[in-house]
C-alpha cells in the first residue's frame, strides 16, 4: 500500500474555474506557511524585536504579544520550527498552516465590499497599508491586513473559509467580483 497523502484545500470543490478576472477579485491561496507566535510572559518586546517583518516572513498583529506569521518563503512544515529557533525562549510557536485560510481581496471596490460586513473604518488614512487587525466580518472573526491601496488579506479559520467566501460573494453583490485559487 502506498502512502502518498495529497492535501485537500478547505475550498476545493467550492470554487470553480473562471474565464477572466473581474474588476474586483478574490484570490484564495492554496498553500501558505502560517504560524501563531505567543510571546512568553513578559517577553513581548523581545519577541516583537525578532519578528520585525522581512522578506522571509510577515508578522501580523493578532493581540497583545500574539502574532500571525505568514511566509511565502518557508514551507508550511518548516516555518514553525524556523521561528522557534529564532525566537528561542521568548515565545511559543504553533503551526497553523492547516488551521487558517488566506484570501486576498483586491480591486477598486475592495474597501467598499468589506464595509458590508466589517465595522472598522477602512479609509486609507484610518487603516493604512500594513495595518493588521482581528475583526468581525458579519458573523465570523478574521485577521485583516491592508496590503495595498486597493488590496487586503483576509486570514480565516479553516472551517469557516467556505462561509466567508459565500458571505464575500453576497457582500460584493453590487460590485463586479470574481473568485479563484491563486496561481503561484
Amino acid at each position: 500500500m502506498a502512502y502518498d497523502y495529497q492535501a485537500v484545500h478547505a475550498l476545493d470543490g467550492m470554487i470553480g474555474a473562471i474565464a477572466e478576472r473581474r474588476a474586483n477579485h478574490l484570490s484564495v491561496h492554496r498553500t501558505m506557511a502560517i504560524a501563531m507566535v505567543l510571546a512568553g510572559p513578559g517577553q513581548t518586546a523581545e519577541a516583537a524585536g525578532i519578528l520585525v517583518s522581512n522578506g522571509e516572513f510577515e508578522a501580523r498583529f493578532s493581540g497583545p504579544g500574539e502574532w500571525l506569521v505568514l511566509s511565502q518563503v518557508h514551507a508550511p512544515e518548516t516555518l514553525a520550527a524556523e521561528l522557534s529557533v529564532r525566537l528561542g525562549g521568548f515565545a511559543f510557536v504553533v503551526d497553523q498552516s492547516h488551521g487558517r485560510v488566506v484570501l486576498t481581496l483586491s480591486g477598486p471596490d475592495a474597501a467598499r465590499i468589506l464595509a458590508n460586513g466589517i465595522a472598522v473604518d477602512l479609509h486609507a488614512d484610518a487603516f493604512p497599508v500594513g495595518r493588521a487587525a482581528n475583526v468581525l466580518c458579519n458573523h465570523l472573526s478574521l485577521n485583516l491586513v491592508r496590503t495595498g491601496d486597493q488590496s487586503f488579506d483576509l486570514v480565516v479559520m479553516r472551517s469557516f473559509a467556505g462561509a466567508l467566501v459565500d458571505d464575500l460573494k453576497v457582500m460584493a453583490r453590487s460590485h463586479d467580483l470574481s473568485v479563484d485559487f491563486a496561481t503561484r
Binding site: Y3, Y5, A7, A10, G40, E77, N138, M157, S159, D167
Partner: protein, 985 residues
C-alpha cells in the same frame, strides 16, 4: 395636460411621461413627480379611509410626515404597505392601491363607524369590548382587525435582496436643504470626510420649492450648483433617498437608503434597500421644520393640506392643489402660499388670518379676513366649501382645497432619541432640540432659524466650528444674495374654538379634540397617558404632524404651559424601516456561518447524512444500500464497531494547546481532577466545574511535554471553554506564566474504535503501537507511513479499544481514506454521531445531555475524580456546600426497558410504581435514551434520587408528551464491559 397640472413651472420633466396605476386605473405623471404629486395632478384626491371612523382622507403634506397618504405599492411578495405617497418617487409601471377600505375606496362600509362614533371614543377598546370575555377572541378582535389597521402585508417570502453597510465620516449632515448644503460645503472645502444624507430623491430641500432668487438665480439652480461641487469632491459622499432614522450610542446613526424603490424592473445585482450604520465624529441635523396643521371642525376632508404642501406642489411639481383654494393661517406663511398661488394663476377663494392684526399683506385682489377662523367644512370626497366665522358671524365660502398654516415646529426627533428631552421655547412657540453635546448640533430651521439667509449662515457657522474642533482650518463660504424672504412668525393657535364637527388633532389615528378632553376628564391628561388612551401619536406617523397641537390642547385644558405638558418619548425609528433591511444579508444560509469539518469531503464520499450541530455540519450516519431507516444504519454501525472497527470524525472537538512553566498549575486549577502529576506522553479525562460546583465541561488533557499540554473540550462548549480559560489566565491568575491557543482548525481528528482498531492503525502508523509500547491513555506524536507527522491518543468514548488520530487538517481526508483501505479487510465502517451516541450510552459515558448545569461530579458518578487534596480549583469551595452533598440528590443510573415493544425518550420523568405524577412524587428524569443493538433492547441514562442505592428497582418512566408510561429496571449506568477488558486489550 391633466386636470390640476399647471401649464408650466416646476422641476418635473414634462417631456418624460410615466405611466402608473392607482386602484387599477391607468394614470400618467412626469419624471420628478412623487406619487402624491402625480395623483393630485390627476384629480385623485381620495387616497384612503381613516383608521377608526373610515372617513375619506387625502394627501395632507408633501413629505415624510404624511399621516394619510398611505398606499400599498406593488403586489404579491413585493407588496409594500403603508408607502407614503408623498415620498414615493414616481416610476414607469408603478402600481399603487388604496388601503383600509372595503369593499371600495369610494363606498366604504366601515364608514358606518363614523355614525357610531360615540361608541368609538378614546379608550374604546378598554371600555366597549369587555363582556362577555369569550367574545374577545371570536368576535371582537377579528372585527376590529378587519375594521382598523393600516394596510396589510403578505405571507410569501420577500424575494428581494437587502444589504447592510458601515460608513465612517468626520461630519454627517442630515438634510440637504439650505442649512445642510451650506454645512456640507464648508466641511467639504475644509477637507473633512463628509456624508450628506437626504431622504428626498433630489437634494435641495426647501430650495426646491422656494421662489425667492438665490444669488440671482432660481433657488433650485443654486442648489444644483452646490450639489455639483459636492459631487466632485472626493471627500464627500452624497446619499440621496436616504432617511437617517436613528441616533444611537457613540454617535452612530442608522440610515435607510432606498436603492431600488424607483424602478419597476429590479436589477438583481443590487439590493432594493440598504441599511447604513454611519459612524460620525460629528453630525449636523439640518432636518428643517414641519408646518403644523390647524385644528378646526372638519379639518380632515380631502383637499385640506398644509400651506407649505400647497406651495410645494405648485412650485416644485407644477400642480395646483385645487382650482379655488381657501387659505387659513395664524401667521405669515399663509400669505406666502397666497403669493405662490397668485403667481401661478390659481384662484384664492379667501385668505383667513386668525390674528386680528398683522403687518402681512395679501396679494392684490385676494379677499382677506382678519381675526377669522374656519369652524366647519363641507363636501364628501373633496372639500367644496368652508364655514368661516368672524365674530360669531358665519359664512359659507366655496372652494375645492384648503391650505392651512398653524406655525412651525423644528424637526428635532433624532436629537431626542438618546434620552434628551425637548426644550420649550416661548419665543418660537415650539419645542427645540436639547443640548446634545459636541457630537450633534442642529442647524437652520431645525434650530429655529427659519429664514433662508439664517439657514445658510447657521449651517456654515456650525460646520466651521466643527472643522476647527477637529483641528483644521475652516474654509468659509460666501452667502449668496437672497431675494425677498418670508417672515416665519405666527401666533400659536392650538385649536379653533367653536368647531361645528370633529376637529382632528392626529389624522392618522383619528384622534380629535373631544378625545383629548375625555382623556383629561378621565384622569389620563399626562402626555404619555393621553397618547396610550387616545392612540394619538402612535403607528407609522408617531405624531410627527399632530403631537404639537395635542400638547398645546392638553396644556390649555390643564391650564399649564406646553413646557409643563412636555412631549412623549422620542425613539427610533423616525420613519418605518422594513424588516428586510434590518436583517440585511443575514438570511437563509447567511443567518449563521456554516462550519465544515476537514473530513467533510471524506464523509460525503462515504454517503454521510449530515446534521446541524451548532454551527457545524456533522456526519450523522452512513446509510448503506438497502437500509431504509436511520436505525438500520445505526444498529449496523454499532455492531460493526463492537465486532470489528469503525472510523468517526471527531474534528469538531475544541482543541487547545497550552504552554508555559505554569501550564500544569494553571490546568490543575481549571480541572477538578489532579493534573500536576500527569506524566509526559499520557492523557487523562478532565472535568471542569463552574465556581458554583456544577460540572461545566469535560474532555481530555494530554501532556506532550513538561510545559506543553493539549486539551480537548466538547464541540458545544469549545468557544465557551476557551473564553473561560482566558478569563482565568488574564483576570483570576494573571501571574501564572501560561500561554494557550485554540488549534481546533489545525487538526483533522478521527476516532478509530473496535477490537480491530490497533491492527488497522498499525498498517498506517510507522511507530510501534502495540499494547506494551502504546498502552491505554498513551498520548504522543507519531509518524505515519509516508512520512506524515501526526498525534495519537489512546482514549475511548465507546468502551472499545480505541484511538484518536490527529493529522494536519488538509491531510485529513487522505489519511481517513488510507485507514478505510487498511481497515477494509478487517470489516471497518464509517460511523457518525448517532452511533457515537449509542456507543457512549452503552458504556455509560456522559455528554451535555447529562451535564446540563444542574449536575455535580458526584451526581454523574464521577465524584471519585475530585482532587480534594488540591489547595484550590474552580468550583472546589462551593462543591462542599450543603445541598450539593445531600444523600437524596438525583444520581446517574442506567435504565433497561422491561416492556420489549416500548421505547423511552429523553425528558421523561421517573415515578415509583403506582405513584401519581406530581412534583412531590417526581423521582428524576431520563437524560438520554436509545436502542442498544448490543443489549437488544431500549436503554437509557437517567438521574434518579439516591439512584446508586436503587439498582434492580422497577420504576415507571412517565412521558407526558406522548402520554406513555413504561416500566424500566434501574441498573448500573455502564451497560457493556464493566471490567474494561476491551478497553485495555
Amino acid at each position: 395636460m391633466s386636470a390640476f397640472r399647471l401649464a408650466s413651472g416646476g422641476l418635473v420633466d414634462r417631456s418624460h411621461t410615466l405611466r402608473f396605476t392607482f386602484d387599477g386605473a391607468s394614470l400618467t405623471g412626469h419624471a420628478g413627480d412623487t406619487l402624491a404629486s402625480a395623483l393630485l395632478a390627476n384629480d385623485r384626491l381620495l387616497l384612503g379611509r381613516s383608521f377608526k371612523y373610515h372617513r375619506p382622507r387625502g394627501i395632507m403634506t408633501a413629505g415624510p410626515s404624511e399621516p394619510n397618504g398611505l398606499v400599498t405599492v406593488g403586489s404579491g411578495a413585493r407588496r409594500d404597505p403603508n408607502t407614503k405617497a408623498t415620498v414615493a418617487e414616481l416610476y414607469d409601471g408603478l402600481e399603487a392601491r388604496s388601503q383600509n377600505r372595503w369593499p371600495s375606496l369610494a363606498y366604504d362600509i366601515g364608514a358606518v363607524n363614523n355614525l357610531m362614533s360615540r361608541f368609538l371614543s378614546a379608550g374604546f377598546y378598554y371600555k366597549t369590548f369587555m363582556w362577555p370575555a369569550a367574545f374577545w377572541e371570536k368576535v371582537y378582535e377579528p372585527l376590529i382587525r378587519r375594521a382598523a389597521g393600516l394596510g396589510r402585508t403578505d405571507l410569501p417570502r420577500d424575494p428581494d435582496a437587502y444589504e447592510k453597510s458601515w460608513a465612517h465620516c468626520d461630519l454627517l449632515v442630515v438634510g440637504a436643504g439650505p442649512a445642510g448644503l451650506a454645512a456640507a460645503l464648508v466641511a467639504a472645502r475644509s477637507g473633512l470626510r463628509v456624508i450628506l444624507a437626504e431622504q428626498d430623491f433630489v437634494l435641495g430641500g426647501a430650495l426646491l420649492s422656494e421662489t425667492a432668487p438665490v444669488g440671482g438665480e432660481p433657488p433650485y439652480v443654486f442648489a444644483r450648483r452646490v450639489v455639483e461641487e459636492l459631487q466632485n469632491s472626493p471627500n464627500v459622499t452624497l446619499m440621496p433617498r436616504t432617511t437617517v432614522f436613528g441616533w444611537y450610542d457613540d454617535n452612530v446613526f442608522g440610515a435607510l437608503e432606498r436603492v431600488q424603490k424607483d424602478v419597476a424592473a429590479l436589477d438583481a445585482a443590487k439590493p432594493v434597500e440598504r441599511l447604513w450604520r454611519i459612524v460620525a465624529k460629528h453630525a449636523i441635523l439640518a432636518t428643517g421644520a414641519e408646518e403644523r396643521p390647524l385644528v378646526f371642525g372638519g379639518n380632515d376632508r380631502p383637499g385640506i393640506m398644509t400651506a407649505s404642501a400647497v406651495s410645494t406642489y405648485a412650485n416644485r411639481f407644477g400642480v395646483a392643489a385645487g382650482k379655488s383654494v381657501a387659505i387659513f393661517t395664524n401667521g405669515s406663511s399663509g400669505y406666502r402660499t397666497a403669493q405662490d398661488l397668485a403667481a401661478r394663476g390659481v384662484e384664492i377663494a379667501v385668505l383667513i388670518d386668525s390674528r386680528a392684526a398683522s403687518g402681512d399683506v395679501a396679494p392684490d385682489g385676494v379677499r382677506l379676513v382678519r381675526g377669522g377662523s374656519i369652524v366647519d367644512t363641507k363636501g364628501r370626497q373633496r372639500v367644496r366649501a368652508v364655514v368661516a366665522d368672524r365674530g360669531g358671524f358665519e359664512e359659507l365660502i366655496g372652494c375645492d382645497a384648503v391650505a392651512m398654516s398653524g406655525g412651525w415646529s423644528p424637526v428635532i426627533h433624532l436629537a431626542c432619541q438618546r434620552g434628551g428631552k425637548p426644550v420649550w421655547s416661548e419665543a418660537l412657540q415650539a419645542f427645540m432640540a436639547p443640548e446634545a453635546g459636541p457630537a450633534l448640533v442642529t442647524a437652520g430651521a431645525a434650530a429655529g432659524h427659519y429664514r433662508l439667509s439664517e439657514c445658510f449662515d447657521d449651517g456654515a457657522r456650525k460646520a466651521s466650528a466643527i472643522v476647527e474642533a477637529i483641528g483644521r482650518q475652516a474654509v468659509g463660504i460666501e452667502r449668496p444674495v437672497i431675494g425677498e424672504e418670508t417672515d416665519p412668525s405666527f401666533t400659536a393657535l392650538w385649536h379653533v374654538p367653536g368647531a361645528k364637527s370633529k376637529a382632528f388633532v392626529d389624522f392618522q389615528n383619528d384622534v380629535h379634540t373631544g378625545d383629548l378632553g375625555l382623556a383629561v376628564r378621565e384622569g389620563f391628561g399626562h402626555v404619555e397617558h393621553a397618547k396610550r388612551y387616545t392612540t394619538g401619536g402612535m403607528a407609522t406617523d408617531q405624531g410627527k404632524l399632530g403631537n404639537i397641537n395635542a400638547i398645546g390642547i392638553l396644556a390649555g385644558m390643564r391650564g399649564v404651559s406646553p413646557a409643563e405638558v412636555g412631549t412623549t418619548t422620542f425613539r427610533p425609528f423616525y420613519t418605518p424601516v422594513s424588516f428586510g433591511a434590518l436583517a440585511g444579508t443575514s438570511v437563509d444560509g447567511h443567518a449563521m456561518p456554516i462550519r465544515r469539518s476537514p473530513l467533510h469531503g471524506w464523509a460525503a464520499r462515504n454517503g454521510a447524512v449530515f446534521i446541524d450541530a451548532g454551527l457545524w455540519y456533522r456526519s450523522s450516519w452512513f446509510p448503506k444500500a438497502g437500509e431504509k431507516t436511520w436505525r438500520e444504519s445505526v444498529d449496523r454501525e454499532v455492531r460493526t464497531v463492537r465486532e470489528n472497527a469503525g472510523l468517526c470524525d471527531v474534528s469538531t472537538l475544541g482543541k487547545i494547546e497550552v504552554f508555559g512553566p505554569d501550564a500544569a498549575e494553571f490546568l490543575s486549577r481549571l480541572y477538578c481532577n489532579p493534573v500536576l502529576k500527569l506524566p509526559v506522553g499520557k492523557a487523562r479525562y478532565g472535568l471542569m466545574l463552574r465556581e458554583d460546583g456544577m460540572v461545566y465541561d469535560d474532555g481530555t488533557v494530554s501532556r506532550l511535554g513538561e510545559d506543553h499540554f493539549f486539551v480537548t473540550t466538547t464541540t458545544a462548549l469549545a468557544g465557551g471553554v476557551l473564553s473561560h480559560m482566558e478569563f482565568a489566565a488574564q483576570v483570576l491568575w494573571p501571574d501564572l506564566r501560561v500561554r494557550f491557543l485554540s488549534v481546533s482548525d489545525q487538526w483533522a481528528q478521527m476516532s478509530i474504535a473496535g477490537p480491530k482498531a490497533r491492527a488497522i492503525l498499525q498498517a498506517v502508523v510507522e511507530d510501534d503501537i502495540s499494547n506494551a509500547a502504546f498502552p491505554f491513555l498513551a498520548a504522543r506524536a507519531v509518524r505515519l507511513k509516508g512520512n506524515l507527522k501526526a498525534r495519537l491518543f489512546r482514549i475511548s468514548f465507546s468502551g472499545e479499544l480505541a484511538y484518536e488520530l490527529a493529522v494536519p487538517a488538509g491531510y485529513g481526508e487522505a489519511v481517513a481514506d488510507a485507514l478505510m483501505r487498511a481497515g477494509a479487510p478487517h470489516g471497518i465502517c464509517a460511523y457518525g454521531v448517532e452511533t457515537l451516541n449509542v456507543l457512549r450510552l452503552e458504556k455509560g459515558h456522559v455528554t451535555h445531555a447529562e451535564l446540563d448545569g444542574r449536575v455535580t461530579p458526584d451526581d454523574a458518578g464521577l465524584g471519585r475524580m475530585m482532587g480534594t487534596s488540591k489547595p484550590d480549583f474552580i468550583g472546589k469551595r462551593l462543591s462542599a456546600r450543603f445541598g450539593l452533598t445531600a444523600a437524596d440528590r438525583a444520581q446517574l443510573v442506567g435504565l433497561k426497558v422491561l416492556e420489549p415493544e416500548k421505547d423511552i425518550r429523553a425528558g421523561a420523568h421517573l415515578l415509583k410504581d403506582g405513584a401519581k405524577p406530581s412534583t412531590l412524587n417526581d423521582q428524576g428524569w431520563v437524560s438520554s435514551a436509545c436502542f442498544s443493538p448490543t443489549l437488544g433492547g431500549h436503554i437509557a441514562l437517567a438521574f434518579l434520587k439516591s439512584g446508586r442505592e436503587r439498582y434492580g428497582e422497577k420504576i415507571v418512566v412517565w412521558d407526558q408528551l406522548r402520554g406513555v408510561e413504561t416500566f424500566a429496571e434501574v441498573c448500573d449506568p455502564v451497560f457493556v464491559d464493566r471490567e474494561n477488558t476491551k478497553l485495555m486489550a
